[in-house]
């Protein structure tokens, strides 16, 4: 096991920069998830760590050693691929032991390791089958088993759950977390699914257009996003962004959303935003769960407004409501018993204690 470090790593394809000089330190035992939309450079980054792609510039270190020119087989890593990449002509046991056999491990040890990994992944009964005879989830387990038996310094996962159906994905997500809790190997995991990222990671790395937007624990990213991209990418349904401006009314700082709707800011927020120029074009970032039905007893900092709902989506434990504020579509989350109906008027409450204010041009959270 080892730590991994990336120093100003760049990947260029002809004249396109897929990865633009990223720095990343991954601690020993850590579970890091690289997340971002397709084409953001996350898979390329992972493949560079694996040694499957050359790096154009910068350094990659595994366990303190620079491995820029070390071939994949000598990096002591294991990788789980999106389409599993199991050898179709080998049985499960042969697939899992292939790496060990190439390294001429003693037969008894190979058997012991394969048996142990199979037990850990609950695939002992499948050990003599060919990949073709396995379901998607089972194949995924075998692919993980192949990684585990090697006992490598680093696990690399390249969108391992994308080929599974939704239910199995949730199940395998938990399996992966359990396995990591047991083996504690440093893990780099790539996904485009922010739910996977949030649930699995010790720390999440959000990437966009070849750069790192933000690194942080799932909670940090959720509650303190640094940019509009992160704020919009993490969380489902996504955060609402509503154009707004600040104004002073009778000595208090107000947030004006539309001609009709303006809220006084809670004192802590007012102090934070007071220095901003009143002319600056701003965006209010508010998550749907902070836009709820109105109560009789509202906490300080929670303000109400009336609107007409366009569409409602009953989800069972909650109902999503969609409405417009001066043409900006907004989503809220209300209690299923709050009586939200398509096309009906409703009084909603906005929790300004959990608001974010963004610069509309730069997308930076202020």
């Amino acid at each position: 096991m080892a730590d991994v470090a990336l120093r100003k790593v760049v990947k260029r394809y002809d004249d396109v920069e897929a990865v633009r000089g990223i720095d990343l330190d991954i601690a020993d035992h850590e579970f890091i998830v690289l997340v971002g939309p397709s084409g953001c450079g996350k898979s390329t980054t992972l493949r560079m760590i694996a040694g499957l792609e050359d790096i154009s510039d910068g350094d990659i270190m595994i366990g303190g050693d620079i491995v820029n020119d070390v071939p994949p087989k000598d990096r002591d890593i294991a990788m789980v691929f999106q389409n599993y990449a199991l050898y179709p002509h080998m049985t499960v046991a042969e697939n899992m032991s292939f790496g060990l056999r190439l390294k001429h491990y003693p037969k008894a040890e190979i058997k012991a390791r394969v048996t142990e990994a199979a037990r850990l992944l609950d695939i002992t009964d499948l050990i003599d089958r060919k990949p073709k005879q396995l379901s998607g989830g089972q194949r995924q387990r075998v692919a993980m088993g192949r990684a585990i038996v090697r006992n490598p310094k680093v696990f690399l996962f390249d969108e391992p759950l994308s080929n599974l159906d939704a239910k199995l994905r949730v199940q395998m997500r938990i399996e992966i977390k359990k396995v990591h809790q047991k083996v504690r190997t440093t893990t780099v995991y790539v996904t485009h699914d922010q739910v996977e990222a949030m649930t699995l990671a010790d720390r999440v790395v959000v990437m966009n257009k070849g750069c790192i937007e933000q690194i942080g624990t799932p909670n940090e990213l959720y509650h303190k996003p640094a940019t509009r991209f992160v704020a919009g990418f993490i969380g489902s349904p996504a955060m609402n962004f509503i154009p707004c401006r600040l104004e002073d009314v009778g000595g208090t700082l107000q947030l004006r959303l539309t001609d009709r709707i303006a809220f006084p800011l809670p004192p802590a927020r007012a102090a934070r935003y007071n220095a901003l120029p009143r002319t600056e074009k701003l965006l209010l970032g508010i998550r749907p769960e902070h836009l709820t039905e109105s109560h009789a007893h509202l906490a300080p900092g929670v303000e109400t407004f009336d609107t007409v709902l366009d569409v409602t989506e009953p989800m069972g434990m909650e109902t999503l409501v969609y409405f417009g504020l001066d043409g900006t579509p907004v989503c809220g989350r209300v209690d299923p018993n709050a009586g939200a109906k398509d096309g009906a008027p409703m009084r909603l409450a906005m929790d300004l204690n959990n608001m974010h204010l963004l610069n509309e041009e730069t997308g930076v959270v202020l």
Binding site: A50, I77, M79, F81, N83
Partner: protein
């Protein structure tokens, strides 16, 4: 195609309210449609393959003048002739050696071509296919000139190195070597193109997984490429074995079986015995000997293919 027809048939049946239904039912059945669609090919095969095959069986049981039924005496006569056994041996040596070299060269070149990027690959593929698309009768004539003992490019070139002149077609060893060489030159592109297609169908991620598992280039070929290509290799080998075994034109043009019948294959010897020496029943008899030999090869190779078909 058949599905569409069947679908239409069904719709017609559903809307047509069961009038004239028996004919429509027969036409609408999937098996009937399938049979009708394959009928032209069945007729063609019957005409061009089955009829001549059975006719040659019949011919092989006649006497030289084709006037009397003689049973198997043509066959027993052949067994006693030394030339026949030499032809058997030569056909086997020729076919096996040529196929091995074609497969080897095709495999190696396919790897090189596979690693050439994009547009250049298409050019190379086209150029390397040339030997295979030129009619062999024509290209073999060119080889005939190259093999000329006195004035050929080969011997001229070799003379600079103080070698030769080599009697390419005049000595048994060199004549056998030459016809194998030409056959390999002609047939290797077929292997190349088949192996190239097979190589392209191996997912890159398998090689990446193998690279991470610690395989070097040789181990990648041995543990990934070859097992993934096994079926293609088996079928290509069988196909080529049949075609090579039945080869006629190359030997006919280069040596006509000489020197002293040592380069004869079944087809050329059957031609010589049957047509040139006017003993058609005996010629038919010679050509029939290819069937059992090839059948054994086919059974062995194809049995393995179906067995493995379930794995991949």
């Amino acid at each position: 195609m058949a599905d569409v027809v069947v679908e239409r048939g069904r719709i017609a049946r559903a809307t047509g309210a069961r009038k004239g239904s028996s004919l429509r039912n027969v036409l609408g059945r999937k098996s009937t449609v399938a049979f009708l669609l394959t009928l032209p090919l069945i007729l063609l095969i019957g005409l061009l393959v089955l009829y001549p095959a059975f006719f040659s069986l019949y011919l092989a049981t006649l006497n030289k003048a084709m006037t009397k039924f003689v049973g198997l005496s043509n066959f027993t006569f052949l067994f006693k002739r030394e030339t026949f056994w030499m032809v058997v041996k030569q056909s086997c040596i020729f076919a096996i050696t040529a196929v091995i070299f074609k497969a080897l060269i095709g495999f190696i070149v396919a790897h090189f071509v596979h690693n050439i990027p994009g547009k250049k690959q298409r050019k190379w593929r086209g150029m390397l296919l040339v030997p295979w698309v030129i009619p062999p009768a024509m290209s073999t004539l060119a080889w005939l000139w190259l093999f000329d003992p006195s004035y050929s490019a080969f011997n001229y070139t070799l003379s600079f190195f103080g070698v030769g002149p080599i009697p390419w077609l005049g000595e048994t060893f060199w004549a056998r070597f030459s016809i194998i060489l030409v056959n390999v030159w002609y047939g290797a592109p077929f292997f190349l193109i088949m192996y190239l297609a097979a190589l392209k169908s191996v997912p890159d991620q398998l090689y990446e997984a193998a690279a991470i598992d610690g395989a070097n280039w040789w181990q990648k070929i041995w543990y990934v490429t070859l097992p993934m290509m096994r079926n293609i290799i088996a079928i290509t080998t069988l196909f080529s074995l049949i075609v090579t075994f039945a080869n006629f034109d190359i030997v006919r043009i280069l040596t006509s079986g000489g020197p002293l019948d040592t380069t004869h294959l079944f087809a050329t010897w059957a031609f010589q015995v049957g047509i040139q020496s006017s003993d058609i029943p005996l010629g038919a008899c010679v050509s029939l000997f290819m069937v059992p030999i090839l059948a054994v090869a086919a059974i062995f190779i194809l049995r393995d293919v179906t067995k493995r078909g379930n794995e991949a």
